[in-house]
Amino acid sequence: MVSAYKEIMLLLRDWGGLAILFFMPSVLIITITLIQESTFKAVGESALPIVLVDEDQGEIGSLIAQNMAKAPNVQLIDEIDGKPLSDAQARALVSDGKYQIALVIPKGISEELNEKVNHNVDKILGEFSLTEADTSTKKQEKTTWEVKEITIYFDPAAGQTFRNSMKNSIEQMLSKVEVEKIYAVFQGQMGMDNDPALLNDEIITFREVIAQKGKDGIIPNAVQHNVPAWILFGIFFIVVPLGINLVKEKNLGTYIRLRTSPVSYAIILGGKIITYTVICLIQFVLMLLIAKYIFPLIGLIEFDPGPKLPVMVLIAFVSGLAAIGLGILIGTVAETQEQSAPFGAIFVIILAALGGVWVPTFIMPEIMQKVSAFSPMNWGISAFYDVILRNGTAADIAQPLCYLLLFFAVTMTAAIFYDKRHQAN
């Protein structure tokens, strides 16, 4: 207990260390959640300007323009200073970073598509003898069509996710235009009146159900993803001050006093484990308080752990032990602060990346998914998500918690073994 008291006193007088432990994770959780939330809002609520170059000037071009104009959150830019844009101008506007995306509809696309659709519809209806076969012209009919490419220019700064999402939306819109065209030709060939209901009545729709355990699950949102992820990141960041703490002991010479005293190294480390576990739990409570009381004040969704709090405390406690084990191992092996601090910080960032703090593990390449299975942060995040998002109980998270405890045991054993070996040599 005296060792724990000493560690607390050392921390209380180290403002830099306290900043790393409490202030930085608090700033991090607010900043990242705010950025992610406002990114979603930006994509979902404000209009995205899209440059449209219609070289076709036909039916398809105007259908695409109409669909884009109707689309929510899209601001169509098809002229500048009252003049229509060319392909080169659109490319320049995007490459200059003035716009993130431009669409160029090539010349003749309407003609080609019309001819092809008419041909196909004729052919289908001809099979059913619903149209008169015009044997006199059939031989001259076109049977091959030139492929027309719609060019999409993307700002080089636009991320892959943004590009994929925009490409999917545009492809979806083009398919709709194509279907509209096919319907129109069918209606024309069969002498039907134009019936917009044919297109508006959707037969297949989607129902989004969050597959949670139990019935009273909450709808996941960015806050529920971010809070546990960044709580864990903050907890693991104690690796840095803890590593520095141990290296300082060696550099100051206090390590010599500790090692020549009748107290075992394990007991000395015990003081650090108690102190840093308390710090992890304080950090956890602080982050939860921020998520519950500060988030609503800055326009974010409130995070309320509700009855899941005790299990979340258990996860934070066990994750804290894993982080402490890692910090002690790094501090034991490192000889200087220049080794321990950058290594600790970068290693935690790597563990966070592997653990799914930034990118969910399920969308990682297969090899990285296999590697991420060995990240203690992945075990911690899985446990938090199981509880918060999947309504899991303590029994459901037994496996990741056991892995975290095992990680703590392995890192502590390695640290004590290394120290003994170092002493013997």
Binding site: V2, S3, Y5, M9, L10, R13, T254, S261, P262, Q423
Partner: protein
């Protein structure tokens, strides 16, 4: 005289090193002695002290402390020794009292007894008025005095001192030497390692000069001086025995 430390055929070779830091070194230190361990850089002084303090394990050889073998009684022996490293070995952000309280508690001293010892100790070294000041605000001499106090609070039977007066002013040095002599008078055996040969000559009751991992000469300071023709100081003896060549080991 009754011996408190006995070392037999002690050898130490560090991993990756081709040479022996200690080479079959044998030594006996009597109770209540002020034993000076002198030698050029890399001679093996620090290694010997580190082994005697239980910090480093020897490659081979035997060690006894008050007739107890080190291997079997390491913790018990460590309870009876005090170590004052060359570094200040104190937490700069903690006060003098907090530092002393922590290091004293490692030896099982508790609460009121420990507090009394800290107050007495600080008084003896003239630092009572600075008890609640952080160590980082202390001068080098003040830090040295607290450094020594941290090693003697538990009243060890043997005190290991590594360069206890390096970087201190004359006044602090006088306080330190007086304190150490008092301790010795009260029954503490002192093992002292230093490059200050004049200080060692005045302070120590017995001296061993160590070179290349072996004791090359051992005896009372005056005996050693008398044994070398023309020598008037311990420094003359030292140069005579170890040569004047630089000893640089990487």
């Amino acid at each position: 005289m009754e011996e408190i430390i006995r070392v037999g055929d002690l050898s130490k070779r560090y991993a990756g090193s081709g040479r022996y830091a200690l080479n079959k070194l044998s030594l006996s230190i009597a109770k209540n002695e002020i034993f000076g361990l002198l030698g050029p850089n890399g001679a093996g002084k620090t290694t010997l002290i580190s082994i005697l303090c239980g910090m480093v394990k020897p490659t081979s050889g035997e060690l006894w402390f008050d007739s107890m073998p080190y291997r079997q009684h390491r913790r018990r022996i460590q309870q009876q020794i005090g170590v004052v490293p060359q570094e200040y070995a104190l937490y700069p952000t903690l006060t003098a009292t907090e530092n002393l309280y922590y290091f004293g508690s490692l030896y099982g001293l508790r609460s009121s007894d420990l507090k009394q010892r800290i107050a007495d100790g600080l008084e003896r070294v003239g630092l009572s008025d600075f008890a609640k000041r952080p160590i980082k605000t202390f001068s080098g001499g003040m830090q040295r005095r607290v450094n020594i106090l941290a090693g003697i609070l538990h009243q060890p039977h043997v005190l290991f001192l590594d360069e206890p007066t390096v970087g201190v002013d004359v006044h602090s040095k006088e306080v330190i030497m007086k304190l150490l002599k008092e301790l010795n008078t009260q029954g503490t055996t002192i093992i002292y390692s230093s490059h200050h040969l004049n200080e060692a000559q005045q302070f120590c009751t017995k001296i061993a000069i160590i070179d290349e991992g072996k004791i090359i000469v051992e005896g009372q300071p005056q005996q050693l001086i008398s044994a070398v023709a023309g020598a008037t100081t311990l420094e003359n003896v030292f140069i005579h025995l170890t040569g004047s060549q630089l000893r640089d080991y990487a």
